[in-house]
Amino acid sequence: MVGYKSSSRKSKIDWLLLGAMLGLALLGALCIMSAVNALSLSNAVVRTHLIALPLAFMVFLAAWSFNYQIFDEQWKPLYGVIMALLIGVLIFGTYQRGSKSWFVLPFFSMQPAEICRVLTILVAAAFLDRQGRRIRDMRTLILLGVLVGPIFGLIMMQPDFSSIVITFPALIALLYCAGINVFYLALIAVFAAVAGFFTIAWTYLYLHPALLDYKILAIFYKLASSVWYMGGFCLLLSVGGYVFWWIFKQLRIFLPSFYFVLATLVVAAGFFAGVFVDHQMKPYQRKRVEAFLAPQSDPQGASYNVLQAQIAMGSGGVLGKGLFSGTQSRLGFVPEKHTDFILAVVGEELGLWGTLTVLGLYLLILWRISAVAYLASDRYGYLVCSGIFGMFLTYMVINFGMLIGLFPVAGIPLPFISYGGSNLVSSMLALGVVQSVYARRITSA
């Protein structure tokens, strides 16, 4: 069998990982055909997908045969490639759905941000690999921020929130596995939580104007409206930080005052990020947050998508209605059925078995990636696998979570299953790199 202990000597490829990937791709291809209601090649979506599939597989094979350590050595040119792609798309790209994130070429179009997700992980892993024992220092974190900041900035300029939603948690997972001080990680989490809290709280108040009768909430609602309010809030924060420091001192718990300053700064940064996001949010994005907060408020509106997806899944039952016979998806009730909501098609046509199979194959992929990480012959291999693990975990959690109502609709595809050539290529590239790590593992006992 394929367990790494028995066959680690000979095998150049992790068959389980390959099998899971190909299984998902096959299932995906079938469901996409069913979703767009066409068995024939005349349909543009089916044609594109069937062309993208072998192309992506070729990329997979190339990445597998390549020694991944090249990425470690050549991380600076790689970084240059990322920047070139992202700047290029801002100049030569085309607008689609309000964001400038597509290169449209005569025969095909692509989303560079998709490839950049994987490349960013490769670059960040290389950077962290070089830090060695300094990994626990604050300096590493700041330097990494300086490194990936421009990437995020460029992606925000498109803007492509969903790329951030995937890349950010993947980087956090990478940092965590690289052995960063958990206190800093906690600060990052606090930063994200504060930013998210303000955004969601303001949206909630916006939805329930009656709550503004309470004076405190009314002031809270207006916090973002003027510089004075914001300044006052920051002043309040610093006073709070000082008070905590003083209390801890009185309690004879001695922590460096540096920690309190940092915590205050992070909360303030989170606040400003929240203000920024709140100002930047497009109406449709705000609608999604609204739909997530109050799904029943407007079943024909924003929460329509999730509801319809759940109806499709639920009506499939355990065994499903059979491939190519799902009424909800075929009659068009499920939105984005061949992309972000492809799982609804799987659920309707293949039932609970179908969705559990997809979930199971995903968990299998995650397990294999983590196993490969521990087999890696160097630290870079381990870090790359950790980052890719984080990326697929995020994909899985957000895409499934969105369908079952645990996450707001974020426009995240389900790799290997959803339609979308760029995503398919970048996902197969990622697993190709993992296979490359596996192939070059320590073979001697």
């Binding site: 965590y176 109806i311 909800q328 969705t355 559990l356 983590s370 990480a373 950790s386 975990l393």
Partner: protein, 588 residues
């Protein structure tokens, strides 16, 4: 190997555990959606993809005892446009031009509707509730116009118009609260018509039936893909009443043509308590609420829901003298042949009580026949008011009859005990007023019918009922049947009844009730003229009749509001009812 592994920590393993935990939660939730709530979502999915062109089921019919259908159904038609046929402008223009006059709508409006249907791709109702006459002309045209769909459904008709309108009731659209509280087990639609009053309301659940429909599969924009199923309706259950068509018709005609056109007439079977006629005037025609859309509309739809027969309370006046007489006879020591002189008034000491006429010397039979107030003043003064109140209670005055109709009034019992309970005094004047059925005494027409039937049956007090049976529309099984129910009995001597019967027959043969005399039948009756301080007097007439030498078969009570004379206003109506019942043909 061990040396290289040093820099690998266990953090990725903990992340793998997180991944499996997340996977577990997702799996549970998936099972929740796809396994536990499968039926719920399947239902929603079906609703999503089907559009139904509903066909209202035939409502349960209402029959009289002799098989006349008072409420029935007629076909009505809805014209749908399924954007499947040709779509060119020329075709639509021609279509609008041909159909607009038939549908009674403007050509432009129709064209607008067609274009809207074409844009949305949904099945669109061009016209609803069309008459069969229009439908026939449409059917010919439909051959030339594909894409149009004519669907037959049912609508209520009332073949006899206002017949028994207060009993039958009427239909109307659901209003906010009714829609909210509707019976979820029945397939009501927003534009469904439901019973608003009378039997239509009471048997709404049974008479509704189950709607049929053409089930279409539609996509998310509502565009029709195909016909899934053509589901047949199930008719509602039929209601059979105890009403006698001829008697009811006679009562209604009589009331309508009476002096004021306001009043009530009730006929009962004294052997069972079955209601043979229950008429209230003014009546209404429930047809106006269910007209075809291509018929000219009735302008004013105001109706009087006030059911005078069970909701109107008035003094029973001289008809009450029967009770005074029974009380006097039962008290004992009563000589029916003892003559009392009527000089047109009775001296009660402090006040003079007038009789309506100057009768001269009268005995019991003469007093009853002439409805002489002085005679009854005198016997009442002799026996005292308590005896009268006792008999009143035997006949259950002051209590509703218990007929299954909403809003029945109880009326008012009048007597010294009642007065004492109200902590007030009783005067001799009250006794005299009571003896001739005036004062605080109040009854409904249905109560008077119950009273007449109690006298006719020699003491059986029936709960009046009008439902004979409810019959399943398909199996013919009787689902519910009306029961004869005796509420009480008046236990007095047979000789008393004989005396009363003789006096009432005498009243018809020679006295004030002579108008109801029918050749070949034993008719008993009593008139009443209720004094009304606010306007003209009200006319009462109660009677019962039998084939010669037989037991009485019908008891009637007729009331004409502001009719002035009991004999002149109410008498002829009662006679027509008896005539109709016994099917007497008279040459004029």
């Amino acid at each position: 190997m061990a040396a290289t592994k040093i820099c690998f920590n266990n953090r990725l393993k903990s992340l793998l555990i997180v991944a499996f935990l997340a996977g577990g939660i997702v799996a549970l939730r998936l099972a929740d959606i796809q396994l536990l709530r499968h039926t719920h979502y399947l239902q929603l999915a079906e609703q999503n993809r089907t559009q139904v062109l509903y066909q209202t089921a035939p409502r349960g019919r209402i029959f009289t005892a002799d098989g006349k259908s008072v409420a029935a159904n007629a076909p009505s038609f809805n014209l749908y446009y399924l954007s499947a046929g040709p779509k060119d402008k020329d075709y639509l223009d021609r279509l609008a031009q041909d159909f607009a006059p038939l549908l009674n709508i403007k050509e432009n409006t129709l064209l607008e509707k067609l274009n809207k249907g074409l844009r949305s791709g949904k099945a669109l109702a061009l016209a609803e509730n069309l008459s069969p006459k229009t439908a026939i002309s449409l059917k010919e045209l439909l051959l030339y116009y594909p894409g149009l769909y004519l669907i037959e459904e049912n609508k209520r008709v009332y073949p006899y118009g206002a017949f028994a309108s207060h009993l039958v009731g009427y239909l109307g659209s659901m209003e906010g609260k009714e829609w909210k509280n509707r019976d979820q087990s029945l397939d009501y639609r927003l534009n469904a018509k439901i019973g608003k009053n009378g039997l239509e309301k009471k048997f709404e659940k049974e008479m509704k039936g189950r709607d049929g429909g053409v089930y279409l599969e539609v996509d998310f924009r509502g565009r029709v893909k195909r016909v899934i199923e053509d589901r047949k309706w199930r008719a509602g259950h039929d209601v059979y009443l105890t009403l006698n068509y001829a008697v009811q018709q006679a009562a209604e005609k009589g009331l309508k043509n009476s002096k004021t056109g306001r009043g009530a007439a009730v006929a009962m079977d004294p052997k069972t308590g079955a209601v043979l006629a229950l008429a209230t005037a003014p009546a209404f025609d429930p047809s106006m609420f269910v007209a075809y859309s291509d018929e000219p509309e009735v302008k004013s739809k105001r109706i009087s829901e006030y059911n005078l027969a069970v909701q109107g309370i008035y003094p029973p006046a001289s008809t009450f003298k029967i009770i005074t007489a029974i009380a006097a006879i039962e008290k004992g020591d009563f000589d029916p042949y003892k003559v009392i002189g009527c000089s047109g008034h009775y001296d009660a000491g402090s006040r003079l009580f007038r009789c309506w006429s100057k009768h001269g010397p009268v005995d019991f039979f003469g007093g009853m026949a002439g409805s002489c107030d002085v005679y009854f003043y005198t016997i009442a003064a002799q026996m005292g008011s308590a005896a009268i109140e006792k008999v009143q209670r035997m006949f259950q005055f002051g209590q509703p009859t218990g007929i299954d109709l909403p809003g029945e009034k109880a009326g008012n019992l009048y007597g010294p005990t009642k007065r004492a309970r109200n902590r007030s005094y009783w005067f001799i004047g009250d006794t005299l007023n009571l003896s001739i059925g005036q004062g605080e005494l109040l009854v409904t027409p249905i109560k008077m019918a119950q009273f007449a039937s109690a006298v006719a049956s020699k003491g059986k007090i029936w709960r009046p009922y009008y439902l004979d049976r409810l019959v399943h529309s398909q199996t013919g099984k009787v689902l519910q049947s009306g029961k004869s129910e005796q509420l009480g009995s008046v236990n007095i001597q047979k000789s008393t009844w004989d005396l009363v019967f003789k006096a009432l027959k005498h009243t018809v043969d020679t006295g004030t009730a002579a108008r109801v005399k029918l050749k070949g039948f034993d008719v008993y009756g009593k008139t009443g003229t209720a004094q009304n301080p606010h306007g003209p007097d009200h006319g009462w007439f109660m009677a019962f009749a039998a084939a010669e030498g037989k037991e009485p078969e019908i008891a009637v009570a007729v009331f004409v509001e502001y009719g002035e004379g009991g004999s002149s206003a109410a008498g002829p109506i009662a006679r027509e009812m008896l005539k109709a019942y016994f099917d007497v043909q008279e040459g004029n």
